[in-house]
Amino acid sequence: MTRQLHFTAFLKPPGEYLAAWRHPDTRADAGVDFDTVLSFARAAEAAKFDAVFFADLVGVPLESQDVLSRVSVVNDSFEPTTLLAALAAATSRIGLIATASTTYNEPCHLARTFASIDHISGGRAGWNVVTSLNDGEALNFGRDAHVGHADRYARAEEFFDVVTGLWDEAGPLHIARPPQGRPVIVQAGASEAGKQFAARVAEVVFSGQRDLARATEFYAEIKDRAAAFGRSPDELKVFPALSVITAETRAAAEAKRDTLRGLMPPQVALAHLAYLLGGFDLTGHPLDGPLPELPESNQSKSTQLDVYLRARQRGLTIRQLATEISDDSSTIVGPPEEVADHIERWFGAPAADGFTLVFPYLPGTLDDFVQLVLPILRRRGLFRARYDGTTLRDHLGLGRPTSRYGPS
């Protein structure tokens, strides 16, 4: 069989777009309405996606009340491991990935939680390993500011080894080895430390490059780095983020995008830009002037660079950048053939083994992708029409890891 695409549905009900909760076709309270979230997971399962995937923050970002009170997801969402367990009982085949921080958790609790989800789901769990991003989180755990970038990754490396040791050993944790041996490991770091960590441990890399040349370069680089750790390139899948707004015609797709942009409160657009720039305060800089030089960020370095280059290369003003960035800069807006072509081009480069699909608003952009784009990819023989296996590892074509303590 030819190489097959993979898709995970990165769900942030009611949508990735910060003003999605205001959209007439969403439920504003979708973040805490289980039946709604379940309907999204079931739609993804019916479409034979590999997994649904949930983000996590252990705190509300430090931001003004005028901005925070206008957004939904960061204020009012299910905690992802409890949500995943509930979805496990109400779905049968789709993989279930949740983000959890190595900075603010303890390895024994986290190992037990994900092993438990793997048992409840019959081997469908995945853990997206993050080192956390913001000071709003630190302040909920007795710290004054976020832990430095290097310290965070040093802890993440050790944390990971303790967690996998607990899964492998089964003894001290008092739970049976997870059905998959280990839940699937997902990682998104793109800084130097993040890439090394991903190359050593990740089975799925959730990456954020916006253009094909850089994504192709990243793809080759991360697989080379994995090889340096003695891993086969097939043991590490690269899934760039992909956000799609599609409709039968370009005009209809653009109309959907414009409806969405029209919902964005200006306070939120500017604050979001500042956040992506590493918490840089843009007040005092003229909105119709260029983006100023930025100090190096302690937050997500790769995101900051990406946004910065985008503004500089295209000569965007702060206002133009804020508007564009508001619907995620990687959003492809166009007819389904064009979206399918983009996917096939990235897949063939190769710059991707699959995609982490990001949905500006739900369920609209999920349904559109499933109904309009997937049939084209299936006609081209690129995406499955049914599940062949039962576990997330089966879907991804990943082997069951052997225990470092021998067969079990």
């Binding site: 909760w21 204020n75 949500l83 367990a85 509930a86 496990a88 939680t113 438990s116 909920n140 739970i175």
Partner: protein, 303 residues
């Protein structure tokens, strides 16, 4: 005004099967069986010595999708944990289950830390008042900033700024289960007190400690452990339960089944119908939340 009827509450701890395969389906069957038997709650202990497959919060979250009425109570110790995670996971379970969550708070050795821990958890649950989430599309306000109660807690053991990143739990606060009878942690935080044996003096002592802690003794419940095999016939067991309940030795019972599922099936088939006939256990669930079914008031946001 209708007389307030006092009902006898029933709870049971889930446990691994003594024979045959374990797995989620096994626990789901037990939870549904107990729900048919009008149990108020299933409880999941977190005993590190027990070789269970499941962690309590994830098991209870999964059970929330296969049950509709029964309370879902999990033990989570305060030792070695952070209040933000605990508050958030129970708030999430309470939303998933539409108000059926209970936290059995194991206080560990350090009572001062546990006391502060539970205080912080409550403040976090109250981060957003009940009126906060206005979700007003027209004015682009998801919540009303005047209804936000950021804890900004700075205590001896914890510094937690907050707010919690989820709206207030449907029950206000999930029901807090405690063990222990004296003053201190249990008296300050407990809604349901789990005691080893039904005993009038114990129940009186608990209510006195609760009152001394500045809370209403009518707003707590005492559940005693019950060993169904010790009483003889179903009729005799029901007699004993009625006697303990009537004399005030217990408001409810956690039934300790020697194994599952057999004895639980027998209890639901043979004992519960007698309790129902006598009007001790209601025929259906009259409330939608665990608090309502136990007759406990929903806590107000006080700050």
């Amino acid at each position: 005004m209708a007389a307030v009827t006092r009902f006898l509450a029933l709870g049971a701890f889930l446990q691994e099967p003594t024979a045959g395969p374990s797995g989620f389906a096994f626990h789901a069957d037990i939870a549904r069986l107990l729900e048919r038997g009008r149990f108020d709650a299933v409880l999941v202990a977190d005993d590190p010595a027990a070789k269970g497959l499941f962690e309590p919060l994830t098991l209870l979250s999964a059970l929330s999708t296969v049950t509709r009425h029964i309370g879902l109570v999990g033990t989570v110790g305060t030792t070695g944990r952070q209040p933000y995670h605990v508050a958030r996971k129970f708030a999430s379970l309470d939303h998933l289950s539409h108000g059926r969550a209970g936290w059995q708070a194991d206080r560990g050795e350090d009572h001062g830390r546990a006391d502060e821990f539970a205080d912080v958890v409550r403040q976090l649950w109250d981060s957003f008042s009940d009126k906060a989430m206005i979700r007003d599309v027209a004015t682009a306000r998801y919540y009303d900033p005047d209804q936000l109660r950021t804890p900004e807690h700075r205590g001896e053991h914890f510094r937690v700024r907050g707010p919690l990143n989820i709206s207030r739990p449907p029950q206000g606060h999930p029901v807090v289960f405690v063990t222990g009878t004296g003053p201190g942690f249990a008296a300050r935080h407990g809604d349901v007190f789990l005691v080893s044996r039904p005993d009038v003096a114990t129940a009186i002592a608990i209510r006195a400690a609760v009152e001394a802690a500045g809370r209403k003794p009518a707003q707590i419940r005492v559940w005693a452990q019950l060993f169904p095999l010790e009483a003889g016939t179903p009729e005799q067991l029901a007699d004993r339960m009625q006697e303990w309940f009537t004399e005030g030795a217990a408001d409810g019972f956690t039934v300790s089944f020697p194994s599952l599922p057999g004895p639980a099936i027998d209890f639901v088939r043979q004992v519960v119908p007698i309790l129902r006939r006598r009007g001790l256990v209601p025929d259906g669930y009259h409330g939608t939340t665990l608090r309502e079914n136990l007759g406990l008031a929903r806590p107000e946001v006080t700050r």
